[in-house]
């Protein structure tokens, strides 16, 4: 009789075991489905590449490139044709508006509170959104960006601090909205 009892108990245990297995399977299915339903967010890397390209475009070996400054004046032409000069093409058929923004502010090292020259490309409104992300940690899903600083000299050895901000939106392709 005790043999019968133990066999019955083991059957009941087997049923519970399979119930646990089914629950584990449902859990794994839910986790994997959730994980793969989210797109891979590559905007941080994209913003980094954009910032590096912009830095390479205005400075070579720590010296301002030709055409950016002549004499004591920065060139307006460089400012106006920034995208073309740096080889940026921000058009994207998936979106109506430009999804990128890159801005470089130049400061004289002697007075860091005053911008002496500025160049930018793309959609400036993403710059504003990125500032809000930085300050309040909101809208992180809307834009991703990066901020970098570097020192550069002109041909007369005047020193400047350049601050690059690059922002990428493309949220429809990189986050689940």
């Amino acid at each position: 009789m005790s043999w019968l009892k133990s066999k019955k108990a083991s059957h009941v245990l087997s049923v519970y075991w399979f119930v646990i297995l089914i629950l584990v399977a449902i859990g794994i299915y839910a986790m994997i489905s959730t994980y793969y339903s989210y797109p891979t967010d590559v905007r941080q890397w994209e913003a980094n590449v954009l910032a590096n390209k912009a830095m390479d475009c205005v400075s070579k070996n720590g010296v301002l490139v030709e055409g950016l400054k002549s004499g004591k004046e920065f060139e307006k032409d460089f400012q106006e044709n920034f995208d073309e000069r740096c080889g940026f093409n921000f058009a994207d058929n998936n979106y109506d508006k430009t999804q990128y923004y890159v801005n470089i502010d130049f400061y004289e090292v002697s007075s860091l509170d005053k911008i002496v020259f500025n160049v930018y490309g793309g959609n400036p409104s993403w710059g504003g959104t990125y500032n809000e992300v930085q300050q309040e940690k909101t809208f992180e899903r809307i834009v991703q960006g990066t901020k970098k600083r570097f020192y550069v000299v002109d041909s007369e050895r005047n020193q400047y601090l350049a601050e690059v901000v690059s922002v990428v939106r493309k949220s429809e392709q990189n986050v689940k909205l």
Partner: protein, 129 residues
């Protein structure tokens, strides 16, 4: 008298069912990892990022063996040349006739002939004319 050891049929069935369960689970995890949409998305983004970082006259190779295997099964070997396309500044990875994912790059370059080989794809980044 010594008792002879016996293998209970219930135990065998129990072990077999557990193995079947584990196999199904592993196959499910592997199949989701190599899904068409996921592969198209990740490779289109990877290629776009590499093009963004490239200087003109760069020749690069990217291993997309898993995507090629999926394309062979679902679209046929004749269409392997069509799985990676660059049109304008848009990279498209397409592993079946009806699917496809695109991602844009901002670098103003021209893309030469794209060659899909056994395990990967060769892409030639050239200066804009």
């Amino acid at each position: 008298m010594e008792k002879k050891g016996e293998i209970l049929i219930e135990n065998v069935i129990f072990i077999v069912l557990n193995l079947i369960y584990l196999t199904i689970l592993i196959l499910f995890v592997m199949s989701r990892g190599a899904g068409v949409a996921g592969l198209e998305e990740s490779y289109s983004k990877q290629i776009a990022l590499i093009i963004d970082s490239s200087k003109p006259d760069t020749y690069f190779y990217i291993n997309i063996e898993d995507a090629i295997e999926v394309a062979k099964k679902k679209w046929g070997e004749d269409n392997l040349d069509k799985i990676v396309k660059v049109s304008g500044n848009m990279v498209t990875v397409k592993l079946t006739e009806k699917s496809g994912q695109s991602y844009s790059f901002f670098n103003t370059v021209r893309i030469g002939k794209i060659q899909v080989r056994e395990k990967g794809v060769y892409i030639n980044v050239l200066a804009k004319e």
